[in-house]
């Protein structure tokens, strides 16, 4: 009797152990599968967009050199020409200009939160930054369209649809990205750095400028690059305020177009598979390549991070 109970207990144990190890294996397979799905997605996006993006060069024989260097975009003419330079220029222009505005503001905000007023500054600014992230990009575009564009039209020149309007909208959009990462970077600096500098008699500003900023520099640059990546890829908000003309802009107040805005506008109007449509996919490929380049820069910067 006793023996039998022990046996069945033993059997039960063995059985449950089998169940366990089966579950173990199943769990491992499940989560590994999810990791594989992410690899598949990334590879699929890259491959499909590359193949589709190269079609205009390989199938339609659009010259890649003309595509990248000509300023003449006129796909509907008798002698169609496909020069995407104005759009590439527009994209890069709004990206760099908005980084120029947002970087000092974002890093300044981060310094305020970590060095000047860590206790209450964080309490006020943190939710503000989170809410700024939450505002959808179309709303930014809509406000740009209803406030910024008329303002520039009245106080500047032209129609108000301009690189300037696009830049301002984008700089507000990337501000939270830069601030968040910069705050993390400054907050992660060991406090011995601060205390050492202050103990030597340096003022707070000297400590920030000579000790903390150089120490956090790679991370701060990462913040700016990620902000630029976001600005570069933003489509709808910019499209609503930039004016979308195909000429190279001569000044900040001139309308312009970016790669994303041209894709947004024309993808629906062009026939799938036509030459013009294929050149839009080539622009998408450029977007993909440049966002990869941004990642490489971030990786390089993070490999240089020492602290």
């Amino acid at each position: 009797m006793e023996n039998k109970a022990a046996l069945s207990a033993g059997e039960r144990l063995i059985k449950s152990k089998q169940n366990r190890s089966l579950g173990e294996l199943r769990g491992k397979i499940l989560v590994t599968l999810c990791a594989l799905i992410m690899i598949t997605a990334t590879v699929a996006v890259t491959i499909f967009l590359t193949v589709k993006g190269l079609q205009s060069f390989l199938v339609n024989h659009v010259s890649p050199i003309e595509f990248l260097t000509s300023t003449n975009w006129n796909p509907l003419a008798d002698q169609p020409s496909y020069g995407a330079l104005p759009f590439i220029f527009g994209s890069l222009a709004v990206t760099f200009l908005s980084a120029l505005i947002a970087a000092p503001l974002g890093i300044g905000g981060a310094i305020f939160m970590t060095e000047i007023a860590p206790s209450w500054g964080r309490k006020v600014l943190q939710p503000v930054i989170e809410l700024l992230v939450g505002i959808p990009s179309v709303v930014y575009g809509f406000i740009g369209l209803t406030v910024l564009v008329p303002f520039i039209r009245e106080h500047g020149a032209g129609t108000g649809f301009s690189i300037l309007a696009g830049t301002i909208v984008l700089s507000i959009m990337i501000l939270p990205t830069i601030t968040t990462i910069a705050t993390d970077a400054m907050g992660a600096l060991p406090s011995s750095l601060r205390e050492g500098s202050l103990a030597l008699g340096a003022t707070r500003w000297q400590t920030i400028r000579k000790v903390l900023l150089p120490a956090a520099l790679p991370s701060l640059l990462t913040a700016v690059v990620l902000g630029m990546a976001r600005a570069f890829g933003e489509a709808l908000a910019v499209q609503m305020v930039i004016g979308n003309v195909r000429n190279l802009p001569a000044s900040l107040l001139d309308p312009s177009a970016t790669l994303t805005t041209i894709i947004t506008l024309n993808m629906g109007h062009t026939t799938y598979g036509s030459v013009e449509n294929n050149t839009l996919w080539s622009m998408g490929l450029i977007l993909l390549i440049i966002s990869f380049i941004f990642i490489l820069i971030v990786r390089y910067l993070s490999s240089r991070r020492k602290i």
């Binding site: 992410m38 305020f112 006020v124 709303v139 209803t146 990786r299």
Partner: protein
């Protein structure tokens, strides 16, 4: 002293910057809410939109936004949590893990319009579905998964090591420990992250423009058969979301009351995102208190 003066000036500059950031947010919010909230009425929320006449509402767009969000989260959350478990518990440092990390990073920084183009290529053209809700949801999944993975990984990693070790020391297997110890402790973090990601998905437009389309068929809300053409639950129908609607109305709308519609829709969108944010914080802290018994 020069350095003292410089210190004062610098402090002043940083305070000004902080003030500017707060002022930007205050201006944006007051603008959206003051202009938009008066437009929101029961009628605005419950009448279908009109493409030519004034007085159209946002009923279908609102429903589409929530429905696409729901389907997206249905796919993203399990995938993202499993991915997070893999990265936190199973991934060994090495080339493969590095590669997966690069993939997550790349997915996270893909411009949403590129995700939209990929969706157009695969879910619209290659599969032949045309503009569909499921296509939009899958595109948003690509866009959302890296966020979900990172959130879950962080939440699982922040579970105290003693809890895991205690469980393993009792002879519980690894997967069972993950299921019964790690996931419950990490749940508040994952929940908060998922709700915040929902807010992001809710406001996303560029990726949906090419995948879920710019139109909504005439919907019959009493028809709950998901395979019927007019059913709102049909996932193979085109669907314009609220964010896409705002863009479309502003760029090529021809109804006379564009401003009112755009103001009202923007306010609804921002309020929804705001609610998602508050909900995430509140639920996160409530659940955290409930399951960790800490005060």
């Amino acid at each position: 002293m020069n350095s003292k003066v410089a210190d004062r000036i610098a402090t002043g500059v940083f305070v000004t910057i902080a003030f500017i950031i707060v002022a930007i947010l205050a201006a944006l919010f007051s603008f959206i809410l003051f202009r938009g909230v008066p437009q929101i009425s029961w009628e605005f929320l419950t009448t279908p939109s009109s493409s030519v006449r004034a007085g159209g509402g946002i009923r279908d767009q609102l429903f589409n936004s929530f429905y696409i969000l729901f389907i997206t989260m249905l796919i993203t959350v399990p995938l993202g949590v499993c991915g997070g478990i893999y990265m936190a518990e199973y991934a060994k440092p090495g080339k493969v893990t590095n590669f997966i990390r690069s993939c997550i990073e790349m997915l996270a920084s893909l411009p949403s319009i590129v995700v939209g183009m990929f969706g157009l290529l695969i879910f619209v053209n290659t599969t032949g579905w045309g503009y569909t809700i499921i296509g939009g949801a899958l595109a948003l999944t690509i866009f959302n998964i890296p966020v979900m993975v990172r959130v879950s990984e962080d939440a699982i990693r922040s579970v105290p090591a003693e809890m895991k070790e205690a469980s393993l020391a009792l002879g519980i297997t690894h997967w069972h420990t993950i299921k019964t110890v790690l996931i419950p402790s990490a749940f508040p973090g994952i929940l908060t992250g998922a709700i915040l990601a929902s807010g992001r998905v809710f406001g996303e437009a560029a990726a949906l423009l090419f995948t879920a389309g710019l139109s909504t068929p005439r919907l019959d809300y009493l028809d709950l058969n998901p395979f019927s053409e007019t059913s709102p639950l049909n996932i193979f129908r085109p669907a314009e979301t609220l964010a896409v609607h705002i863009w479309a109305v502003n760029t090529n709308g021809i109804m006379p009351d564009i401003r009112e519609i755009a103001n009202g829709s923007s306010a609804v969108l921002v309020l929804a995102v705001l609610i998602f944010n508050l909900l995430a914080r509140w639920l996160g802290s409530v659940v955290h208190k409930k399951i960790t018994a800490s005060k």
